[in-house]
Symmetry: C2
Subunit: 383 residues, 2 copies
C-alpha cells in the first residue's frame, strides 16, 4: 500500500548507477490525472539545493505532472552547473512523460557539494519511464533510500478515495544529514489551494514536530499530488485529518529509523502559557546533547531537562516545574521527586512529560538519543 494505491498514479524505481553500491537510486512518479493539482513544503534553509529551487518554481502554478527523485547525491552547493543538471533532468522527464519541463519537480538526496553523474541520471530517467506502472510504488520507495534501513510507506483509505505516501530520511522537516524527501499522492478531487492548506496543517503537526538532531538539510521536500481520478471531492476537514494521519505515520517511521538511534523520545510539554512556549521548551530539550546522551545511557538525568528548559524564553517559574520520565515523576516543583532508580529506560520508546504549570497549552516533539552509532555514521559518511 503505497503511492500507487490512489488511482491515477504510475511509479517506478530503478538502479541508475548513481550510487556506487548498485542499489536502486532513481524514482519516478507520474500523475495521469484528470487533475494535476499539487502542493509542496520545502526546507527553510537559505542554502538550498538546486532541485529545491527548480521544484519551487514548478509548483508555482499549482499543477505538477511528475516527480523525479534520486539518492546518491544532493546536488546542493553545486552552483549554476548544478542547477543546469536539475533542469536537464526535468527536461528528460518531461520528454518521457509528454508534459512541459515546468510540470516536473526534482528531488535529490545525498552528499552536498558534488555534481551528479548526469549520464547515469538521464539513463535512469529513460529506464524508469519505460517501467512506469500502477504497481511501481514499492520500487519507487526503495529507490529513494540512503541510510534508511527500510523503505517508508503509508496509506489512508477515505470514503471513495485514497491517500498514499513514501518518505526517506531521518529527522524533521529540517533533519539529519541525509534530507527528508516525501511524496504523497491522492485520487481525491481537490484544488491546489485546498491541497496546500491541508498539507501545511498536516506537516505543521507532524514533520515539523520531529527533530532528530536539530540539523536542517538543504534539500528537504514534501510534495502532495492529487489526480482527482476517484471522482470524489472529500470534505476538506476529513481530508486534512487523513492527510495528517499519513504524514504522522511516515514521520514516526522516520524517527524510528533515525541514524544510530537507540531510543525514540517523545517530549510532551503541558501546562504551557502558549503552544509556541510548549514547542520552544520541547525543542530545547530535544536538541540538548547532554540530555540525549543521558537517554542513550538509560540515565533519567532530569537535571539536564531542567537546564535545557532554563535557556528558553517560555513562561514558567523554575520552582513549579514537574518532570516525569516513563511514568515516574522524578522532578517535582523544580526539585527532587520520586526515586530516579524507579525509571525504566530499557524500552526503545521513551516519554518525557514536562508540566510547566504556566497555562493550558501543550505540544509534543519527537527526537532520538545521541549514540556512538550516530557519531560513527556521521563521522564516516562521506569518507
Amino acid at each position: 500500500m503505497t503511492i500507487t494505491a490512489p488511482k491515477g498514479f504510475l511509479a517506478a524505481g530503478v538502479a541508475a548507477g548513481i550510487k556506487a553500491s548498485g542499489n536502486k537510486d532513481l524514482a519516478l512518479v507520474v500523475n495521469q490525472g484528470p487533475s494535476q493539482a499539487v502542493a509542496g513544503v520545502f526546507t527553510s534553509n537559505r542554502v538550498f539545493a538546486a532541485p529545491v529551487g527548480l521544484s519551487r518554481e514548478a509548483l508555482r502554478d499549482g499543477t505538477l505532472r511528475a516527480v523525479v527523485l534520486n539518492s546518491g547525491g544532493a546536488n546542493a552547493c553545486t552552483g549554476k552547473p548544478g542547477y543546469e543538471d536539475a533542469v536537464a533532468t526535468a527536461q528528460a522527464v518531461a520528454a518521457a512523460a509528454g508534459c512541459a519541463p515546468g510540470d516536473v519537480a526534482v528531488c535529490s538526496t545525498g552528499l552536498i557539494g558534488v555534481r551528479l553523474p548526469m549520464d547515469a541520471v538521464l539513463n535512469g530517467v529513460a529506464q524508469a519511464a519505460s517501467q512506469l506502472s500502477a504497481e511501481g510504488g514499492d520500487d519507487a520507495a526503495e529507490a529513494i533510500r540512503t541510510t534508511d534501513t527500510h523503505a517508508k510507506q503509508a496509506v489512508s483509505l477515505g470514503d471513495g478515495y485514497a491517500i498514499g505516501g513514501m518518505a526517506k530520511g531521518a529527522g524533521m522537516l529540517a533533519p539529519a544529514l541525509a534530507t527528508m524527501l516525501v511524496v504523497i499522492t491522492t485520487d481525491a478531487v481537490i484544488e491546489s489551494a485546498d491541497l496546500d492548506a491541508a498539507l501545511r496543517t498536516a506537516t505543521g503537526l507532524t514533520f515539523d514536530r520531529i527533530d532528530s538532531d536539530g540539523c536542517m538539510s538543504t534539500n528537504d521536500t514534501v510534495l502532495c499530488l492529487a489526480s482527482g481520478a476517484s471522482g470524489v471531492a472529500p470534505d476538506l476537514g476529513q481530508f486534512t485529518t487523513r492527510l495528517t494521519q499519513v504524514c504522522w505515520d511516515l514521520a514516526r517511521q522516520l524517527i524510528g529509523d533515525a541514524e544510530g538511534a537507540s531510543h525514540d523520545i517523545a517530549i510532551e510539554i503541558v501546562g504551557a502559557a502558549s503552544e509556541d512556549d510548549a514547542l520552544e521548551v520541547a525543542r530545547s530539550i530535544g536538541r540538548n546533547n547532554l540530555f540525549k546522551c543521558a537517554i542513550f545511557g538509560n540515565d533519567p538525568n532530569w537535571g539536564r531537562v531542567l537546564s535545557a528548559i532554563g535557556v528558553t524564553n517560555a513562561a514558567f517559574e523554575p520552582e513549579n516545574i514537574d518532570v516525569t520520565i516513563n511514568g515516574v515523576q522524578i522532578c517535582r516543583g523544580g526539585g527532587i521527586g520520586e526515586d530516579r532508580s524507579l525509571v525504566d529506560l530499557a524500552p526503545r520508546e521513551c516519554h518525557v512529560l514536562v508540566d510547566l504549570h504556566a497555562g493550558a497549552a501543550a505540544a509534543t516533539i519527537w527526537t532520538n538519543d545521541l549514540t556512538y552509532d550516530y557519531v560513527k555514521e556521521n563521522a564516516e559518511y562521506s569518507s
Copy 2:
C-alpha cells in the same frame, strides 16, 4: 603561578569527602585586602543553582572576602533545602574567615538534583580554613576539578601588580555538563565598578566565545577579586588587556580539555556585515552535530558548514560564501573549490575560515568535535 601569585590572597584545597573517589573536592580562597573589590559573571540559565543565587547576592555591594568552591555536587534543583545548604556553607566560611556571611561567595559543580553531604562540606570548610596559605593556589585549582584531566591555571604580571586565575570545566560560559567555574585574583588597586567593566569585556571576548557543546549549565560562575595589596593602580585599559589574556589562557585550556574531544576547532568568520552576524554564523556551525561528527572523522565536509550557515539570519548571499579548512579553500563562491583531499585534519587544532563577503566584521568561536568519548562520558556520568 596561580591565584595566590597576586599579593593578599590565601588559598587551600582539601579532600572533604564529597567525592566518592576521595580526591580533593573543596577549595577556599580568601582575600586579605586591604581592598575587597569584586566583580562576577554568572550563568544566564533561568534554572540556576542555589550557590549562584547566593553569590549574586553576596556580590551586590561590590565587596567579597572569600570564595568556597566544591566539586562533587552542583546543588542545583535542590529547592529551599539546597539554598539553606549554601547559606550554611557561607556561614561556616564567614566564621572561619572572620567576616560577614554576606561577604562569602559559594560555587558548586557536579550532578544536578542531589543534595550535598553537608557534614562533609562543613568539615571540609574547617579543614581548608586551617590550611590557608599563600602557596595554596595549586591545591585549590586541583580541588575544583571534576572531569577535567588537569588543573587549569594562568597568570599575567603587570607593572607592579599581578593577575592569577584558575578554572574548571569544559565549554563556554554556558558549557558542558560539568559547569565552568573560574576564580581570578589580582593585587591591583581597582574599584569594583572598574573591575566589573574589565571583567565583562574580558569574558565577552573569551569565555563567551568558547562553546564546547551548546549546553548551558545551571552553575557557571566567573569571579574576579582585587586585594589592592600591590598598592599599584593600573591603567584600566592595560589591566583589561591583561585580564583578557588570563581569561583567554584559561578558556583555551577549557577547550583543549573538553570532554571526549579529539579536535579543538576555531571557527573564524570574516566579511560579516556585523560582529553579531559573525557570532551567529560561527555559533550555528559550532553547534551543528553533523559538522562536529565530520571533523571527528577527519572529513572536511564543507556542505555541512554551508547548511549550518543557511539557518542563520545573518546577511549573506549563498553564492558568495567561501570556506577554507586548514588552509584549503574547498568551497568557493558557494560551490566546489579546491580538492577536499588536500585538507589535512590530523592535527588536534582545526581552523575553519568562512568569508561571507557581506561586510568587514569578524569573530571567532572555539568549539570541539563530537566523538564517541563525548557520548560515553555523558551517557555514563551520573550512573
